[in-house]
Every structure is written in structure tokens, then in C-alpha cells.
């Protein structure tokens, strides 16, 4: 164990001890914050997966990804308006709406993201490394601009379609748990599990892993690189799309620039878990969600950003490969 690992474990240990102290002082509050943090973290995990997959395969920090996430909530809200739904009571119409809106929005986002890759990243694949980074930032501004033109700077309301209110909420040992909290965590878990199966079992998943490892060698083995990269963007956007609607249904308000902060936090999660590592991104999302929730409650919301990014720097200094990452040789 090197000195860096020592530093990392000391830091993690101190944090855990402080949290444990809080858990003893006020277990109910602790558990409550834990539940909310878990729900936030599940959404961060969904977005983080897109960052980590894209980075793993083409080493690009895809700044537009957070805005793909937000755009999906905007499109979701627009589509829900076509259905007869009720925000007050849980109805059959709500189920139908959600069952249709989820896959449709995910597909739309997938197509949009593949389009972004085709237009903004593929032509620059052999250009100087900073060029695609700038187009990624440009695409991020473009997507935010589209949402800004669409609805202006005001917040947009997403109907509260998930079951809520009496009968769908319960107190377990004084801790409030709603159906929404459970739904968010379960939905994210199912999507992550599906992704893991896809990456590990399917032929395309294998192609993705191979391309991430060595692009030239994969090409020599007959893998269509362009198709594989496009598929990576497609799947990343499916997850971000699902994350966006889930966010909208959970919090019920969105703004055009939501993706910037969420994207940065999700990206931090991806780095935290070990960038390029899929289970790592999911775990990183959960941990960052929890850390943010604890920091909101125990330190104060205005310090959360400092805490999250401070942790990011500490992790990179002490353990650059992240929680689950493996040592990668410099290319």
C-alpha cells in the first residue's frame, strides 16, 4: 500500500467516522437523508454511465451529455401533454402515458445523440485532441440554446404522474419513503443491470469493449468502429434519456441549464468510480448522490459544490484510477 492509498483510506475513514457519529446522534435524520441521497444518486448514476462509456471508447469528455439529459425531460414533458393524465390521483391514463413516453423519449434521445456524434465528433476523430472537446462544449451550448428558445429562462413543469400522496407513502421507523423514491432507485438499478448484461454478453457489447481497449486492433479484427462508437452514443443517450424523464417525474421542475450542473456532478461520479468502468460509474453516482445529500444537510447547501469537487480533487490526487478503476498505461 503506497502513501497515496494511505491518504485515500484515511480520508474515506474520517468521512465514514463523522457520518457514523451523525447516524448515532440522530438515526432518523440520517436514514432520511440517506434515502433522498440514494434517489439522487441513482439518477446521477444513469447520467454518469453515458460519460464513462463515451470516455472509455473515444477519450472525449462529452460536455453535451448533461444537456442531452435535460433535453429528454423537456421532450418528455411535451409528449406527456398529449395524453389524458391526472396529477392528483394515480390513474390508468398515467400508466399508459408513462409506458409510451419512456421508450419514445429514450429512442428520440438515442437518435439525437447519434446525430451529434455524426456531425460534431466523427469528422474530428483524427484532429488535434482539443478540437472535439470544443465542439462538445459547442454542442452543449447549442442544446441549451434550443431549450432556451423553446421555453425561455423560466422553469418548466413536468406533471407529477408517479403515484404519490396518502397510500403511496409510508414511514418506516420515522423515515419518510414514497413510491417515487423506490421507483427511481429500482428503475435505475434495472437499467444498469440491463446495460451490464448487454455489455458483457452481446456481440456489440464485446465490440465496444474491444474498441475501448484498442481501436486499431479491433478494426483489424473486422469490427466496424464507426458503428460501434455510434452504438455507444446511442446507448449512453438511452440511459440519459431515462434519467432525464425520471428526474422530471421525481422533482417536477426543470430548467434549460439543469444539465450543466447535473452533468458536472455525473461526470465527477464517473471519475470517482474510475472513468471507463461501467460498474464504477454506477457506484460513483450513488456515492456522490449520498455525499451531496449529507453535505446539504450537515454542512449546508452552499458548501455542497465545494465538497463534491473537493472530493473529486482528493480522489484524483490520492487514487487517480477511481474506486474501481484499473491502472491504464498512458497512450
Amino acid at each position: 500500500m503506497g502513501i497515496a492509498d494511505l491518504g485515500f483510506f484515511t480520508l474515506a475513514g474520517v468521512t465514514l467516522v463523522l457520518l457514523a457519529a451523525q447516524a448515532v446522534i440522530n438515526p432518523t435524520q440520517f436514514a432520511q437523508v440517506f434515502v433522498f441521497g440514494l434517489a439522487d444518486g441513482a439518477i446521477y448514476a444513469l447520467v454518469a454511465l453515458g460519460y464513462t462509456m463515451v470516455y472509455g471508447i473515444i477519450e472525449l469528455i462529452n460536455f453535451a451529455h448533461g444537456d442531452v439529459f435535460t433535453l429528454s425531460a423537456y421532450i418528455g414533458a411535451a409528449l406527456i401533454a398529449f395524453f389524458s393524465t391526472s396529477e392528483n390521483a394515480f390513474s390508468f391514463g398515467n400508466v399508459i402515458a408513462l409506458l409510451i413516453v419512456f421508450p419514445v423519449v429514450m429512442l428520440i434521445m438515442g437518435v439525437i445523440n447519434v446525430g451529434i456524434e455524426r456531425v460534431a465528433y466523427r469528422p474530428l476523430r483524427n484532429a488535434p485532441r482539443l478540437a472535439p472537446l470544443i465542439t462538445a462544449i459547442g454542442m452543449s451550448f447549442t442544446l441549451e440554446g434550443i431549450m432556451f428558445v423553446w421555453h425561455g429562462p423560466a422553469t418548466v413543469h413536468v406533471p407529477n404522474l408517479l403515484p404519490h400522496g396518502p397510500g403511496w407513502e409510508t414511514y418506516i421507523g420515522g423515515v419518510f419513503i414514497g413510491f417515487k423514491d423506490v421507483f427511481v432507485v429500482v428503475a435505475a438499478a434495472v437499467l444498469v443491470a440491463l446495460l451490464a448484461v448487454f455489455i458483457n454478453r452481446s456481440k456489440l457489447g464485446k465490440a465496444m469493449r474491444a474498441t475501448a481497449q484498442d481501436r486499431d486492433a479491433s478494426q483489424l479484427m473486422g469490427i466496424d468502429i464507426n458503428r460501434t462508437i455510434a452504438a455507444t452514443f446511442f446507448i449512453g443517450a438511452l440511459l440519459a434519456g431515462a434519467g432525464g424523464i425520471i428526474w422530471g417525474l421525481y422533482f417536477n421542475t426543470i430548467t434549460y441549464n439543469l444539465g450543466f450542473r447535473t452533468g458536472l456532478i455525473a461526470f465527477t461520479s464517473a471519475v470517482f468510480g474510475g472513468i471507463g468502468n461501467i460498474p464504477g460509474a454506477a457506484l460513483g453516482g450513488l456515492v456522490i448522490g449520498l455525499i451531496a445529500a449529507f453535505s446539504d444537510n450537515y454542512i449546508g447547501p452552499k458548501w455542497t459544490q465545494v465538497v463534491v469537487f473537493g472530493i473529486l480533487i482528493a480522489v484524483l490526487v490520492f487514487r487517480p484510477t477511481g474506486l474501481l478503476g484499473m491502472r491504464v498505461p498512458e497512450k
Binding site: Y55, E59, I61, V119, A120, P123, L124, A127, P128, L130, A131, P132, L133, I134, T135, I137, G138, M139, S140, F141, T142, L143, E144, G145, I146, F148, V149, G152, F260, L264, F267, T268, V271, I275, K302, W303, Q305, V306, F309, G310, L312, I313, L316, V317, P320, E330
Partner: protein, 399 residues
Amino acid sequence: MIARLRLRERLRDRDNAVYAILLILALIWPLATIYASDSTFLITQAGHAGTWVLLAIGLNVVVGFAGLLDLGYAAFFAIGAYTYALFASDQLGSSPAHHSFHLPFWVMIFASMFVAAAFGAILGFPTLRLRGDYLAIVTLGFGEIVPQLFYNIDQWTGGINAIGNIDHPALPFWVTGPWAGDSNVALVRNFDFGFDPVAYYVLIVILIIVAVILVNNLYRSRLGRAWMAIREDEVAAAAMGINTVSTKLLAFAIGASFSGFAGAYYGANIGLVSPDSFLFVVSVTVLVMVVLGGMGNISGVIVGALIIYFLLYNVLPALPSTVESLAKAVGLGALNQQNGEWPGLAGAAQRLQFLLYGLILVLMMLLRPQGIFPSRVREQELKHSGPVEDEAVVEQAHA
């Protein structure tokens, strides 16, 4: 050998031509704009644009020369600006320190520079061992933390209320003349910069010229060659005996010091420093200026900074009123009225600005991924391979 000389001549030609044009432009700018527009507004703007040019020159050292991606450059800008603002205003009087400082600008500009450089070194020391992309992420995190910190420690910095009434630079004497709108050339004693745009303009032009000379010399020095060696291949550079960590640390600290420099000037010029002025967008904008201008090439970076500034602060803000008058001219004035969901043509154009900026960034990068005036050395590397590349490097080493 002859081919090499010719290459050298061409190399000097283009960049020197750009410098010459910029210098002439800078010299005639105050007179020309005063006579053309009868106001000093364009000079004020040029003074602001100069801040960005300084920032771009500094970031170019980090990104263009040493190849280290810095996504939190605005943090050092903020540190420089706050260093000046705290020690040259009444702010600290109402802080727990209960004593306000009014140190002269000419001292503080160097203090800001050193403080920013120190923070660059503090951040760089543990993180510069990391691979390139991780460094980008660390700097991104740092860039997010610093403005938030200035918000949070509001008993010292005023937080969201910002620091206002910052001292202006003063000089024992100053020359005024027709270029500043006065009729006669005259010597002014005990000159206070106040809000005199021409004085700030002269100051920033001098600062930029000094910066360009400094950076150009650095580029040609042993250190500059070490930076480029690290940029091209870190392992090979280390094998050649370059201490990669301290060389990178120097790039980081020197880059940060320019931004501290720019920060002090910014604080004095605007007279107000608020955490909002140093967000991620600022870091990105400076990076865009560097990449668009042509990484590693100082004259290109200056041009890139001026183009992006002009785009962001002149073209896009002028869009709503231009569109409005255009619609009136072609008989579509009805579109200008606000009507239900429709925010009016000016409102719509206002909303479009962000979208347009994004599209312009994407288009510019797709059309010219290497930048407008790429560094000649890199251009050769991209175009050819093998012997030509060697020659270019040798050329550089002898220059």
C-alpha cells in the same frame, strides 16, 4: 540548408505580419474610433477585450506550449482579481480584519500575479503527476470551487454583493492629447486613471506587449523547448533528462500568473469584482480563444481572442436590435410586437444568442480544427511526417 532558411523566413513572415497589423491597429484605434463614432465607447470595449487577450496569452502557455489541458483557468483570474480588490478597496474594513488597505495598483498587480502563480503551484504540485485528462478534471473541479468559495466566505469577500469601489491606478504624471479627445498635448500631474478609457487602453496595450515579448522569449528558451518536448511525448522528454514535474509546474504557475495579472487589471478597470464573473463559461471562453486562434501560436491566439470577444460582446448582443430594424425595413414590423407565446422578434433573437454561439463554435472547429493561425511547427507535424517533422523541430531548436 536553403530549404531550411526559406522555411525560417516564411515562419517569420506570417507571424510578424500579424503582429505588425495588430500593432498598427492598436496605435490608430483610439484616434480612429473617436473620430468615427465621436465617443470613447469602442476604446472602453478594447480595454475589456485586452483582459481576454492577456488571459488567452497566459492559457496558451499552459495548453498550447506544455499541452496541459486547464479547464479551470478562470479560478486564477478570480484569485488575481480578488487579491487586488481586497487590498485596494474598503472591503477589508468591514471584514473581521477591521482594517482596510489601499495599496497602489503598481504593487498589487505584481502581488496578484504572485498569489495566482502560488495557487497554480499549490494546485499543480500534487496533480501534475496525473495523466492529461485527469489534470483537466482537477482543474475543472478547482474552477468550480473557487468562485463558490468567494461566495461562501462573504464576511471577507462580500459574497454575492461583490466588492465595489475598487481603487483606480494613479501615476505621478501622464500625457494627454488629441488621441484622448483633448485638443492639445499636455502634461498632467498626479494623474488618476478614474474611468478614463484611454488610460486603461494604453495600460492594457503596454501590458499585452510586455506579455507577448515575455512569452515569445520563454517559447524560444530552454524551458520553452522542454515544454514542447513534454507536449509531444512525456516519456521521451523524461528520458532526455527533463524534469517533467517541475517543468509542467512552471508552465502551470506561469500561465496562472498571467491570469493574476489580468485579474488585477480587470478589478481596476471595472471597479467591481463579483464571483459571477469567474464561472466555468469564462474558462471555456478563454480555451475557445486559444484553440480557435491556433494553439501554441501567440499571434494566432491574440487574433482568436479578439474574434471571440467581438462575436460575444458585439455581434450577438447587437442581434436583437438589428433584426428588429431589418424587419421594420422590409415591412414585417408586426413581428416585432410581443404576442402571446411569441416574445417579439427582438426577444426571439435575444433567446437565439446562446444557440448561435454554440453553433458557431461547432462550425469553426469543424472547418478549422487546427485553428486560424496554427503554430507553424505543429502545422508541419500535422501535414507531413518523417524528415520534415524532424527539420521543423531542429528549426525550432535553432530559432
